[in-house]
Structures are given as C-alpha cells and as structure tokens.
C-alpha cells in the first residue's frame, strides 16, 4: 500500500499521485488537515484511505459512467459537498459530513456514519446517499433521481421540489418541503432498504419501519388554476 501525507505534499501533488495509481492498488493519505479537493476526479478502482478530517469536495467528480470507480474512506469528518457529482465508486465517511453531501451525484454510493448537515443530497441525479444519523434542513432539495436513506431524523423542508428521487427516513421529519409527500412503503422499497442496511451496516434501521418521501408531482406542469398568480 502506498502512503502519502499532506504534510509533505500539496493537494495537487497528492491527487496527481492518486490519479496515476493502477486499478486494484491502495493508498493512504495522512494529515489531511481539513484541506479541500482531496481525491477528486479519480476514475480507477483503487482503495484510498484518508486518515483524518478532510475539507470541501472530498472525492468529487470520481468514477465512471458505468458506476465503477474508487473506494474512498475518510477516517474523520468532511466539509461541504463531499462526493459532489460522483459518477461511480464509493465514498465512505466515518464521521459526519457538512453541507450538500453527495450534491448532484449521478452514480456510486456515499455513506456517512455520522450526521449530514443542510442540503444533503441536493440535486441528486442517480447516486445513493446513506446517512446513519440525522440530516439538516432542505435535504434532497430538487433531487432528480437516486435514493437517500436517513437513519436518524430529517430537518425542515425535506424533499422540497423533489423530482423522481426517493427519500427514506427512519426517524422523525421536522417538515416536508413544497411538493414533497409521504407514500406507503411497498415490498420493493423494503427490499431496497434491506440491501442498503446490509451494505452500510446501519442495522439500527428497520427496513419495514421507515417513512418514504417522494414528489407529489404538483409542480411538474403549469396549472391553469394558478394563472392569476403569475
């Protein structure tokens, strides 16, 4: 296993070395010191372990369109927009994530063992985001496709202006956002949650006892009833 350190290398140098690693190899990155942009744009299936707390955009833009990509683990917390626009692979955060976790992620899986703050899964476009703890306000804002699983509670405005992404919440929901609605769980939902619980080890989540939030689709089309409003 290769070992890099942010004490000795700049973020650009670390990322350059990670990008040159062939598939099947692994590498650790020590002393991340909250630095931004670590491990962005990696496409090969490699294992990367970030040994501490990272800053913004950790692991963003990673993976390929077929859903393959690096497996990145962070042994700490991360700043804003972890795994932003992820295409494939896994970003696994042992601590908590700040705002906009997995924003615009198209593929791959983002796992947060702690909490995720505001706007988790904003504009999600097909990836899976699993958070063991709570998510802050406006989670899933305008999420278009993909799955968000919350093991704890969700803050205000959950799923505001949601498109076709699905949100599962094991705990309480402070309030739903505009056009978000609660729907009955069906067998396929329970199976999907079961598989996610198995993958993440979040066994405090009972797959049959979560709240499913989807779009009510009332904002999809112009309504003549609203004519006078515009």
């Amino acid at each position: 296993m290769d070992a890099l350190s942010c004490d000795a290398l700049s973020v650009r140098e670390v990322n350059h070395r990670l990008r040159r690693m062939p598939a099947g190899t692994s590498c650790s990155v020590a002393a991340p010191q909250g630095l931004h942009n670590l491990g962005v744009g990696l496409t090969e299936k490699i294992d990367v372990c970030i040994q501490g707390n990272a800053g913004y955009f950790l692991g963003g833009l990673g993976g390929r369109t077929d859903g393959s990509g690096p497996d990145i683990t962070v042994e700490g917390f991360v700043g804003w927009s972890v795994a932003e626009n992820l295409m494939g692979g896994t970003v696994w955060v042992k601590g908590s994530a700040s705002q906009s976790a997995a924003s615009s992620a198209r593929g791959g899986t983002v796992v947060v063992e702690g909490d995720a703050s505001l706007r988790a899964g904003i504009s999600l476009k097909g990836a899976t985001l699993a958070v063991a703890g709570n998510v802050g306000a406006m989670a899933g804002f305008m999420a278009q496709s993909g799955t968000i699983l919350v093991g704890g509670d969700a803050g205000h405005g959950l799923g505001d202006s949601l498109y076709e992404a699905v949100i599962y919440v094991a705990g309480t929901i402070s309030s739903l956002g505009a056009d978000a609605t609660v729907e009955e769980l069906v067998d396929d939902d329970v199976l999907a949650i079961k598989r996610l619980v198995e993958l993440t080890g979040f066994d405090h989540i009972d797959p049959g006892r979560v709240t499913k939030v989807v779009s009510a689709r009332t904002l999809y089309h112009f309504s003549a009833d609203h004519h006078g409003v515009y």
């Binding site: 010191q33 909250g34 630095l35 931004h36 707390n53 800053g55 913004y56 917390f77 700043g79 804003w80 700040s98 705002q99 703050s117 505001l118 802050g136 306000a137 406006m138």
Partner: protein
C-alpha cells in the same frame, strides 16, 4: 467569500500564545479574503493610574500620515497620553474623560486619520493587502490577550480600503465581523441614521454592527441583540461578535455561509472553515461542530 475568525482563550496560561494561535488561522483563510483584513484584540488593561479608566483608541489611515509627527502632536496636546505607532496606524491610550476631545480634534487636525475602535481592552488593526502580510507587518504573532476576532475580506458591497475592512467597532469594546452580504442594508441604515446613528463607511456589514450596538445600548444583552440583528438583517451571514466579556456567533436561516467551531477547556475557536482550526493545540480532543442556522451561540469569560 470572506473569512471570519473568533478565538476566545479560557485558560489564562494560553493568553501569551494568542497571537501564535491566531496567525495560522488567518493564513488558512487568506484565500477567502485576500484584499484586506483586520484583527480585534482584547487584552486586560493594566491597573488604572489615579483610578481613572484608560481607553485605547486604535487609529489607521487610507492615506499617508506621518505617524511620528502625529505621535509628537498627541504627546504635546494630550500630555498623559501614551502613543504606540505601528506601520500604518497607531494606538493612543488616554484617560476616559479625554477620549471625546481627542477624537474631535483628530477630525479637525488629522482628517485622514480614522478611528478604527475604542475600548478598555480593545486594539484594532485594519489594512489592505494580503492578510498574511498584515499579520507580519503588525507583529500579530507576538500579541497576548484573551480574545481575538479577525476577518479576511473579499469585497463585494463596497470599496477596498482599510476603513471598509472588518472588524467594525460600533461601540467601546464591541466588534463585529461578517462573511456574507445583506440585501436590506440601505433601508436599515436610513432608519439608524434617522435615530442619530453615525457611520464610518458605506459598508453593508457596518449596518449590522451599528444595529447591534443600538440594541445593546437599549438594554438588550448580547444574546438578545445578536438575535435581533439576525432577524432584522436580510441576507447571508455568518457573524462573529466580540465584547469585553465574550463572543457570539450566528448564521442566517439558510446557513449560506460556512462556520466551524472547536470547543476545549482551554479555548473556543470559530472559523469559516475547519482547516483554520486544524492546527490549534489539542484540537484532536476538541468538541467540533457546525453552528446551526438561526441559533445564537455565546461564550462568556
């Protein structure tokens, strides 16, 4: 952008380390605000001679001032005054009863000298240019004290001058730094001006500072006053407020601007980004969290 910093020392043994702890924090946030910066330092005053409180008057300029000539003028006009000259500013320590007279005669005789702040504990430096350079030029690393509030500025709403830099000091020993922008600052300013409040600049953040001071003068405690500002000011903000007794932090309802807080028995540190906290002593053992939107956090000494 902009970077905000607050560092409250709880363990007196760490007070001599304040500057050495602060400078790496400012450096870490320099790229959030490379055009200008400012630091408010709070340190305990020496025992007052003759029982009369001594007030520190922090001065700076956006023009050219012969500070040695200035020091001579102060010494002859205000004999008990003590003058410390730094690179492009000065601090004059005068008895409390002399402050108004000093400030008044400054505006007559030294119109290009600006008062950046007054207080029994407060010293303020503000300057344009890279924040790292400002730290170096003013010797911030050697500073000792129990609270520092700092700002790195990327100007969006008003000019890049020392006078427009943060912190704003709207009252004795009271300072405010702001990351964000206010959309209703002009209307709040008009109302405050109608109430007789005077401004030093056309900066939007100064409006929040003056509003806070007005609330405190009206009898609000720091928590209430900060909450009032949060509700009345429309826009994006992380605000850090420093006072003679402590520090407050508040973020807007949408938490549009970042902040991270580290709490230990020895200090409380707030910064726009965690990387500014990452080098603090004992940060591995600190309780680290993000301030929630619309919650006022206050720590007192």
């Amino acid at each position: 952008m902009c970077g905000v910093i607050g560092l409250l020392i709880r363990d007196p043994a760490l007070e001599p380390e304040l500057g050495r702890m602060l400078v790496p924090m400012v450096e870490a946030l320099a790229e959030r605000g490379p055009d200008s910066s400012g630091i408010a330092l709070y340190s305990r005053p020496a025992a007052d001679p003759d029982g009369e409180p001594v007030i520190r008057v922090s001065l700076g300029t956006d023009g050219t001032v012969s500070w040695s000539e200035f020091a001579g003028w102060v010494s002859s006009r205000f004999p008990p005054a003590e003058v410390r000259v730094s690179l492009s500013g000065a601090r004059v320590d005068v008895p409390e009863t002399t402050v108004d007279e000093l400030v008044e005669s400054l505006s007559q005789r030294w119109p290009s000298v600006h008062v950046f702040g007054t207080g029994r504990m407060l010293t303020v430096v503000k300057d344009t240019g890279r924040p790292e350079d400002t730290c170096r030029r003013y010797g911030v690393e050697s500073w000792s004290g129990h609270l520092a509030v700092a700002h790195t500025r990327m100007a969006t709403e008003s000019a890049v001058t020392a006078r427009h830099a943060h912190p704003f000091v709207p009252g004795p020993d009271l300072c405010v730094v702001h990351n964000g922008s206010f959309s209703n600052h002009a209307s709040v300013r008009r109302r405050l001006e109608a109430d007789g409040v005077r401004f030093d600049s056309d900066n939007d953040s100064e409006v929040a500072a003056r509003l806070l001071a007005q609330r405190l003068d009206g009898g609000d405690d720091l928590d209430e006053a900060t909450r009032w500002v949060m509700k009345e000011m429309d826009g994006f903000f992380t605000l850090v407020v420093g006072t003679a007794t402590g520090m407050s932090v508040v973020r807007d309802a949408f938490a549009c601007k970042p902040a991270a807080i580290a709490v230990t028995d020895a200090y409380v540190a707030v910064a726009s980004e965690y990387r500014a906290l990452a080098g603090l002593p004992g940060v591995d053992q600190a309780e680290i969290f993000e301030p929630q939107p619309e919650v006022v956090y206050t720590w007192t000494l």
